[in-house]
């Protein structure tokens, strides 16, 4: 489903974020990407929906070599990759419901059908009773769940999450991990960057998981599947 082959990523200024990274994630797998801050986890995740491009090597997502993808095709790739960002990227000028509707609005889903899907996604993460609230009124855990609802509303086959349990207390973090475990059980491929060992252990207790580890841009453990 996701395949990295000899990927190098260098930022302007010469900083080498990823060095010769190769690994793959099979369909329906739940993979944790471990590593300290600055190890290259976020950069690696950004290469999948083409927020960043590789300098060399290749990234294949769902059978497509995205490293060579034309800019016009990128939006269609992103619709199939649910993204949960470290800073959540919620919009605070609209309701919880409207935040979840955003990915549907940009793809032209019928508003009636969209509303049904948005409510289903909110229900899945337990936020349906808060649909009219502003995200600012939600707790940290609820905001993260809202970000997850927005990521899954387009029914993507791949989910990527960057530190989804960062800044959450243990209870909220457990709720989030349980959600990813549930998605994995229904066949969603998930790649989650984290440095939270408890989160990994909790998921492993519920579903089959795998871990890979990055250190200073290099893959040090759990390489090919």
């Amino acid at each position: 489903m996701i395949e990295f082959s000899a990927v190098h990523k260098r930022y302007p200024g010469g900083y080498e974020a990823l060095k010769n990274v190769s690994f793959s994630v099979a369909e329906g797998e739940l993979v944790f990407l471990l590593g300290h801050s600055g190890a290259g986890k976020s950069t690696l995740l950004k290469l999948i929906p083409l927020i960043e491009r590789v300098n060399s090597g290749s990234v294949i997502v769902g059978g497509q070599n995205v490293s060579k993808m034309r800019p016009q095709a990128i939006p269609f790739l992103r619709r199939n990759v649910g993204q949960i960002f470290q800073d959540q990227k919620l919009l605070y000028d609209r309701s919880v419901f409207d935040n979840v509707m955003l990915p549907l609005n940009v793809t032209g889903v019928h508003p009636r059908d969209g509303a049904r899907r948005a409510r289903a996604a909110l229900d899945k993460v337990g936020l349906l009773p808060r649909e009219k609230s502003n995200p600012i009124a939600l707790s940290g855990g609820e905001q993260q769940r809202l970000a997850i609802a927005r990521a899954i509303v387009n029914r993507p086959s791949i989910l990527i999450a960057d530190e989804p349990t960062a800044n959450l207390d243990a209870g909220y973090a457990a709720e989030i991990i349980d959600l990813f475990a549930a998605f994995s059980q229904v066949g969603v491929t998930a790649l989650i960057a984290t440095h939270d060992a408890n989160a990994v252990a909790r998921a492993a207790a519920k579903v089959k998981t795998r871990t890979i580890e990055l250190r200073a841009g290099e893959l040090v453990a759990g390489a090919p599947a």
């Binding site: 927020i51 955003l102 940009v106 032209g108 019928h110």
Partner: protein, 302 residues
């Protein structure tokens, strides 16, 4: 296709919502555009009215061909067919010198003078209606006729109308230049308004791109906004011009009464008004396009 139409519908709805959400700012923008467009549109309306008035005073251009006093009847008669054979000539009317004298006698001011004369001082004449108002062609035709036998003089009766027409043409060019210059004002207003909107919606644009919005999906609401702003500005210009003409008509009515005329300044015909609205909407769309093209490039999500 359905999704594409739905995206357009949603973008249009969002644009209407945005316009209504900031009524004061929208009103100010519409007024600025309206005033900028009202100047050339008003000048154009005045020119149209002036042209209409000039047409009302004299219709098609005419030539008067005066024969020499010693011209014989057959020499005078030979001129008629020659005139009719000219390509520019629409109609030829012969005015015998006797009939001209009778007409003159009907004028009380001339009666005494004519009684004192022993003979008819008036020549036979042809009044020639012309098909064209082309000054050069008319001058050429008149010069040719002057060379014909026993033709004493040729007078282009509607020369002043042609001068007015030339002045109107000049005025029309001035209106075009003015419209061109003020179009930049409309472009600038739309450009800047859209720039501010892009800046205030920066976060939404970035998130939308991350979630799979195409460039055209992001650009579309701004295009609609620019076009609607232009359209509303064009409508405002129409209202301003209409109000100004109605106001001026009070003075025009007084002036016309002095000349026993019921002349009034008319508003722009529907076709011209439609053209102004379309022009304004296109300019608004162009301003939005320039602004979006210039500013959205800076918004690549990271």
């Amino acid at each position: 296709m359905k999704a594409w139409l739905r995206l357009h519908g949603m973008a249009f709805g969002a644009t209407l919502g945005r316009l209504a959400h900031t009524p004061f700012a929208t009103l100010l923008n519409v007024l600025v555009i309206g005033i900028a467009l009202a100047l050339p549109a008003g000048a154009y309306a005045l020119l149209m009215n002036l042209q209409q008035a000039a047409r009302g005073v004299s219709g098609d251009p005419e030539l008067s061909v005066f024969m020499a006093l010693d011209a014989k009847k057959d020499e005078v008669a030979a001129i008629g067919p020659r005139l009719k054979a000219e390509a520019l000539v629409a109609r030829v009317e012969f005015k015998p010198r006797e009939a001209a004298l009778e007409d003159l006698k009907k004028n009380p001011a001339m009666g005494d003078v004519l009684v004192a004369l022993n003979q008819n001082p008036l020549p036979d004449a042809y009044v020639v209606r012309l098909k064209s108002n082309d000054g050069d062609a008319l001058e050429k035709l008149a010069a040719g006729i002057r060379g014909w036998p026993k033709v004493e003089s040729v007078q282009i009766d509607s020369a002043w109308v042609r001068r007015v027409a030339a002045a109107i043409d000049l005025g029309r060019m001035a209106v075009l230049v003015l419209a061109g210059l003020l179009s930049f004002a409309l472009l600038a207003v739309t450009f800047n308004t859209i720039r501010l909107q892009i800046l205030t919606q920066r976060e939404e644009i970035e998130v939308s791109k991350l979630l799979g919005a195409t460039d055209s999906t992001i650009r579309r609401p701004f295009y609609y906004y620019g076009a609607l702003l232009g359209l509303l500005g064009g409508g405002a210009a129409g209202l301003i011009v209409y109000a100004a003409l109605q106001f001026m008509n009070r003075g025009v009515a007084e002036f016309s009464r002095l000349y026993a005329s019921d002349f009034r300044l008319e508003f722009l015909p529907a076709g011209d008004l439609g053209a102004i609205l379309a022009f304004a909407a296109i300019l608004g769309w162009m301003g939005a396009w320039l602004s979006v093209t210039r500013h959205l490039r800076e918004f690549e999500p990271r």
